[in-house]
Amino acid sequence: MMCPPSILRVRIHNRRRHFGLWLPLFLLWPVVLVLGLVLWPLLLICAAALWPSGWGRPLLLGGPILFSLLCALRGLKVEVNQPSEQVLISFQ
């Protein structure tokens, strides 16, 4: 089963600034779920209205596809170290 990332870690260290952030994304998912449920009927209406133009289907599929993209971010890690600067972005 695919799970969205639960923690976003950002760390920036340079001569002037030391910035570290652990963002607990898992706290956001219930909010996003509620928002999704509230907006779902509106999305259905928009998709039905846009169906003749060809954009209805993409609009309808957009949610699940974006969710799978979000889930796929788990494990992404970008780390750049220089003698004077360090940057880390990691989805866990």
């Binding site: 695919m2 133009s53 060809g54 954009w55 289907r57 993409p58 599929l61 957009g62 596809i65 799978s68 993209l69 889930c71 796929a72 971010l73 788990r74 494990g75 992404l76 890690k77 970008v78 780390e79 750049v80 170290n81 220089q82 003698p83």
Partner: protein
């Protein structure tokens, strides 16, 4: 245990190869030979599909470059490719036709809406053998799937 596996373990015990190298060699000899693939082999292959694309840049031995150079370590989940491919569903039919026409005019007989799951899996499976090594005085670049 086959002779090859035993030999690899012996080389590891004698410290001729590292644990990572032994793991890789064992994975390579564990792969089915082309044409021998049965149902159980297929599941074995799908289990050993790479999960991440790694890009590692390390500075070279030069003292000057080491003082300035960047160390880069990027790990991209290959699931992003699978998810990204699903975005082809966003392309409306008329736009997809235009893209296909443009591709055909360049000699590519290809349907952007027909990028199925199997094609993506095949692509990811092919990435298992990908390895790019660039070695210079300024640094080392390594791109591989794991």
């Amino acid at each position: 245990m086959t002779d090859n596996q035993r030999r690899i373990l012996e080389m590891l015990a004698e410290k001729k190869i590292s644990i990572d190298e032994a793991e890789r060699l064992l994975a390579v000899i564990g792969q089915p030979v082309a044409g021998e693939t049965g149902a159980s082999d297929t599941t074995q292959v799908s289990k050993s599909l790479p999960k991440y694309l790694r890009v590692v840049v390390t500075p070279g031995p030069d003292q000057d470059t080491q003082a300035k150079a960047e160390q880069v370590n990027i790990r991209v989940p290959l699931a992003l490719i699978r998810a990204g491919m699903k975005f082809t569903a966003f392309i409306p039919q008329d736009k997809a036709n235009r893209v296909n026409e443009a591709l055909q005019s360049k000699g590519l007989d290809f349907d952007v809406r027909n990028l199925g799951k199997e094609g993506v899996e095949e692509l990811i499976e092919a990435l298992r053998d990908l390895e790019v090594n660039v070695d210079s005085n300024e640094g080392k670049v390594r791109i591989y799937a794991e």
